[in-house]
Amino acid sequence: MINFILMVNKQGQTRLAQYFQFLSVKERMTLEGELIRKCLSRNETQCSFLEHRGYKIIYRRYASLYFIIGMDLEEENEMAYLEFIHNLVETLDKYFENVCELDIMFNIEKAHYILEEMVMNGQIVETNKTQILAPIHVLDKAKDE
């Protein structure tokens, strides 16, 4: 299962973190720090997968933002998760229109909602963008009322 999904920028600042198994604030900080250092130490030609602290890590970089997924070691299809990251980014892009780091910062709760629609209980439940965004649009309307 997916244990966590992170968005961390090149400076090592976390922009979004969702954990599917509880870790204390301290543990999260250490883990995130180590992970971004590891990701930064790898170059473009190296593959996007690694192992860290008993997690299988899959990461993908968009401009200065790293999307990082941590999963159980026995999860088998790394490429599927790498593309899942891309699907997530496309969904964010569809919602925010030309998404950038600041969008996520100013609308952090929305980004969380989108993730919540896509992943439940550490498993991918929805990859259809229309379905993912439908409940989010409902929330936007509710706010306007």
């Binding site: 400076q11 090592g12 600042q13 976390t14 979004l16 973190a17 969702q18 509880f22 204390s24 604030v25 301290k26 790898r42 030609t45 190296q46 593959c47 996007s48 997968f49 690694l50 192992e51 088998e76 299809n77 790394e78 490429m79 599927a80 790498l82 593309e83 899942f84 891309h86 699907n87 925010f96 229109e97 950038c100 780091e101 600041l102 969008d103 910062m105 100013f106 609308n107 952090i108 709760e109 969380h112 909602y113 919540e116 629609e117 439940m120 209980n121 498993q123 439940v125 929805e126 990859t127 259809n128 963008k129 229309t130 379905q131 409940p135 409902v138 929330l139 936007d140 509710a142 706010k143």
Partner: protein
């Protein structure tokens, strides 16, 4: 949208300033200030909702950036009660981000969640379900089960989808909330849902169940999954599910994972999958996008996971080639991993990619390198093992990642034990390995290694002993790490002292070398204990002369502050006195069988005394302890389900009892802190033996086979326990019992079996990473001639395996048409009719039973692995078998009906479920159920359809219990012969 104009200026500025920080310190400063501000603001009354909302968003930032905002948690809970949908969802989000599942605050949420789940507003329900999925915990799972299950039939798809996922968590948290039947029904309705998104969610639930092992239960659904996959690849789903014009890739992948588990080792299920798998792979292969590669990769995994099929394998190998030839490391990574999968079926596909693999090994990409090493590990055989181990050792030397090194260490030792070409090579490799991986040497590693050495020493004898003693005494001349020194001490003490028992010069030389080590820099006091133990063992040799020196040393360490050291020194010092005294006297001949008592025993026997039977004691002990502590007997072994022997998974209490009473070669027996103590020194004369026996440190007992006291004394006198119960053992001297007849003890097997069954679960957990352990270097001598000796019959059975699928006989399923050969099927009463259908002979009449049971004792000795039994003439003719598709109940019924049971315990190559299944495949029958190490299988003779049932219990140490229940006893004989030939 990135302007953030919807936010208040305060929050906007905060986020902006966080965004602009360039260092962690700067960020911390802002956040600490923010925490203080927030704390004061919280006290304001009647805050407008928008303000509350922003406060929580600020709290999200505070916690995300590593600070504590627990003072806001309660506000998050309050917000969940808001009437505004957006505020409510934010409240839930914050709860799930902030709160641990054990948090006491969660109790406050239960009522709100219950209310929201029952709401008539669909959006409220969706919010609540999302929250329940993240927040539910064991304490209140019961309170939410009912409302969630109700939502499974809601008329909005998103509600059904989420309810399914929540149901999965509920089941994980508490099995009692939903019965298995109910759960199955509900997920079945899930995959039948008209909305693909609900269906897709249900796949997750199936996959989870299958991973947990409930494979047989869902096999009938294979067809459903196959047709779903077919529809997906044919673009039957709405376009919205496409990703880069590729139809629902993640659903395809999930389905492929499900099908892999369903089809594993099952030809019949696999046959349903082949076609759709082929077309899925073709379509995925046609694309040149990442997601296509992901599906291709999953197809390859599926092809190598289910029952192999040649053309698909070729197709898979082609795809793998494309991956490997790519310049993109991600694809190479997939390629290497896929190749690792395929290699387990056929090694030939590796050949083409030799150079790529070598390149990957040299790659600057650590991840790729690791995966390649994994591949190397999988493809090691006798021929390439030297090269591969060298390569692995090179990485062990150079790597700095300790997890990786540990993994390498385990792998190298496994490969070394399995494939080392010569003993010399084995020992040298082991030493190099220990040198560079000394931090990974723990008791398990050491004990395994000692056991291998001792086994080989016992098998090969003096030559091997001299050889390793030489190597290790040479090592002593160098500076050694403590971990290695311990090993060296053990070898010298245990083996050296036996080899040079009569050679005073050599003994002196060894002793001096060991004593020198006491003066070197040692890392810990325990190493001294090892050295002292080694000296004590040496001084028990007959020709030992350096009593003055050793006594002085023991005397010195009697003052040691290290308790273990001190105790050992005191013990050994005492022993040294007796040993020296004994050496002074002439050699004493010892009669370990105590034949002087024969007359007495004879006399008593004539008077009607019971003959001594050690197995009775063992049984009594096992039974007695089982009765004493019934609570220790867990799980599925309790009922004698498959006609198998009772296999209790007993706790430690039983171990102790059987250890003390049994002579069976138990693993736990002779182990202690200082390793494996199996030395069997010359037996002393009983009368003065009390101190002498301890003097030899490993207790007494002769080399004679069938000697029942051997392990008993060793157990109580193992040097490692000296520290604690030396006094006790001195009083506990157990005189040797009357020897059994020299002939192999018929009960020995049974004891061995009992011990195996008792200790298997324990030894397995202790030595898990090295399951194939025992094969070791002993195996390599025994194995080779076997491989060299081509066996025509083996080839025959190989071809049988590839029988066309039409031959698969469905023994008991009503719906399936039986082969035309059997016209006399009467459908309604399947169970009653069965034996006739499959046997064509009547069920074995009950009079035959006593005949069968009579030669039971002979059977034991016949089946002994030691005496390779020539295969009787009539068995040489080939028999072929076909799988039988029956369920466990039917299996049991058939088992009861048939009484021709052939029961054996073999020392085999079967050490895992995989091995066992391979064996079963070779015979071409099929596996019905697997529970831990017990497997039941069924099949039928291809010609006369007589039924064959096999119950097997394998063990990681290679001991294999088999019960073959066949209508025709010759089938059992034949199968047994095949198994012995190919798998023992």
């Amino acid at each position: 949208m990135s302007s953030g104009s919807h936010l208040s200026k305060e929050l906007h500025d905060l986020i902006k300033s966080i965004g602009e920080t360039r260092s962690k310190q700067e960020e911390d400063k802002i956040i600490i200030k923010e925490v203080q501000q927030l704390k004061t603001k919280l006290n304001e009354k009647n805050m407008p909702p928008k303000k509350v909302k922003e406060m929580l968003i600020r709290a999200i930032y505070i916690e995300m950036l590593g600070h504590d905002a627990s003072f806001v948690h309660i506000n998050a809970i309050h917000l969940t009660q808001s009437k505004n949908l957006a505020l409510k969802r934010l409240g839930y989000l914050c709860c799930s981000l902030f709160l641990d599942n054990d948090s006491e605050l969660l109790i406050l949420l239960v009522a709100t969640l219950q209310k929201d789940l029952a709401s008539t507003n669909v959006h409220v329900v969706v919010n609540a379900l999302t929250a329940v999925g993240k927040l539910i915990s064991k304490t209140f799972v019961n309170a939410l089960t009912e409302p969630v299950l109700k939502l499974l039939t809601h008329n909005t798809d998103i509600v059904r989808k989420k309810a399914l996922m929540v149901m999965q968590i509920i089941r994980q948290l508490n099995q009692d909330c939903i019965t298995e039947q109910d759960y199955d029904d509900r997920i079945r309705r899930g995959i039948q849902d008209k909305e693909p998104s609900v269906m897709g969610a249900a796949f997750n639930l199936y996959h989870e169940e299958l991973k947990k092992g409930a494979v047989n239960k869902y096999k009938p659904l294979t067809g459903t999954f196959v047709s779903m996959l077919k529809q997906i690849i044919e673009h039957k789903l709405h376009k919205d599910y496409d990703y880069h014009r590729f139809p629902a890739p993640w659903l395809q992948i999930k389905l492929l994972q499900i099908l892999t588990l369903l089809g594993a080792n099952d030809l019949k299920v696999s046959e349903q999958i082949y076609e759709v798998l082929g077309s899925t792979l073709r379509r995925a292969d046609d694309t040149t996008i990442n997601i296509g590669y992901a599906v291709t990769y999953q197809c390859v995994k599926c092809i190598s996971g289910i029952y192999p099929q040649q053309s698909l394998l070729e197709q898979a190998a082609n795809s793998v080639s494309r991956f490997l030839k790519s310049d993109n490391n991600n694809l190479k990574y997939l390629g290497i991993n896929a190749l690792t999968q395929i290699v387990s079926i056929s090694q030939k596909y590796v050949l083409e990619h030799q150079m790529t693999i070598v390149d990957c090994l040299e790659s600057n990409d650590d991840t790729l390198k690791k995966e390649t090493l994994e591949l190397l590990f999988k493809m090691t055989n006798e021929q390439n093992c030297e090269v591969i181990i060298q390569k692995l050792i090179h990485f062990l030397k150079t790597s700095s990642d300790s997890n990786f090194k540990k993994d390498l260490f385990v792998k190298i030792s496994l490969l070394n034990e399995k494939h080392a070409p010569t003993q010399e090579w084995f020992i040298k490799t082991a030493n190099t390995l220990f040198e560079f991986g000394s931090e990974f040497i723990d008791n398990d590693v050491r004990n395994n290694f000692f056991k291998l050495l001792i086994d080989n020493f016992n098998d090969i004898g003096t030559e091997f002993g001299v050889f390793i003693t030489e190597i290790y005494s040479d090592l002593l001349k160098n500076d050694l790490q403590d971990n290695i020194l311990k090993i060296v001490c053990w070898v010298i003490g245990e083996i050296g002292s036996q080899i040079y028992d009569q050679d005073p010069n050599k003994l002196n030389e060894l002793t001096q070398l060991v004593i020198m080590k006491l003066d070197s820099q040692l890392e810990s006091e325990t190493t001294i204990s090892w050295i002292l133990t080694c000296l004590a063992k040496l001084q028990s040799a007959r020709a030992f002369q350096m009593f003055d020196q050793t006594r002085a040393i023991f005397q010195k360490y009697m003052q040691s502050k290290h308790l273990d050291c001190q105790q050992r020194a005191i013990d050994f010092f005492t022993l040294a006195k007796f040993n020296a005294a004994l050496k002074g006297s002439q050699f004493i001949t010892v009669d370990p069988k105590m034949s002087f008592l024969d007359a007495y025993v004879q006399q008593e026997r004539l008077r009607g005394a019971q003959p001594y039977n050690p197995s009775l004691q063992v049984k009594a002990a096992a039974l007695g302890s089982a009765a004493e502590a019934p609570s220790l007997n867990f799980g599925p072994y309790s009922d004698n389900k498959y006609g198998g022997v009772k296999t209790g998974t007993f706790g430690t209490e039983e171990n102790k009892i059987t250890n003390q009473n049994s002579s069976a070669p138990t693993i736990a027996g002779p182990w202690d802190d200082t390793g494996y103590n199996q030395k069997q020194p010359p037996a002393p004369k009983p009368v003065i033996a009390t101190p002498m026996a301890i003097g030899s440190t490993t207790g007494m007992g002769s080399n004679g086979s069938g000697q029942t006291t051997t392990k008993t004394t060793m157990q109580s006198m193992g040097s490692g326990q000296m520290g604690v119960n030396a006094n006790q053992t001195q009083n506990n001297y157990i005189p040797p019992v009357k020897p059994l007849p020299q002939k192999e003890d018929p009960n020995l097997k049974e004891k061995q079996k009992l011990a195996n069954q008792l200790f298997a679960p324990i030894s397995q957990t202790q030595q898990q990473p090295q399951q194939t352990q025992k094969k070791g270097i002993t195996a390599m001598t025994a194995q080779k001639p076997m491989n060299a000796n081509p066996n025509p019959n083996a080839n025959q059975t190989q071809t049988l395996q590839q029988k066309p699928p039409a031959q698969v006989l469905n023994l008991l399923e009503i719906d399936d048409p039986l082969p035309t050969k059997q016209p006399n099927i009467v459908v309604p009463q399947v169970y009653v009719q069965q034996p006739q259908i499959i046997t064509q002979k009547s069920v074995v009449p009950s009079q035959q039973q006593p005949q069968q049971q009579q030669p039971l004792q002979q059977q034991w000795s016949q089946s002994s692995p030691v005496q390779a039994q020539p295969i009787p003439q009539q068995q040489q003719q080939l028999r072929s078998y076909i799988p039988a598709n029956i369920n466990v109940d039917q299996y049991e019924q058939l088992w009861e009906r048939n009484q021709n049971i052939k029961e054996v315990t073999l020392q085999s190559k079967i050490k895992s479920e995989q091995d066992f299944k391979r064996m079963i495949q070779t015979i071409n029958i099929n596996v019905i159920e697997v529970i831990d190490q017990e497997i039941i299988c069924a099949g039928a003779n291809a010609e006369n359809k007589s039924c064959i049932l096999i119950y097997g219990c394998y063990n990681s140490n290679g001991s294999l219990d088999l019960k073959i229940n066949s209508t025709d006893p010759k089938d059992a004989e034949y199968i047994l012969a095949v198994i012995k030939r190919q798998f023992c």
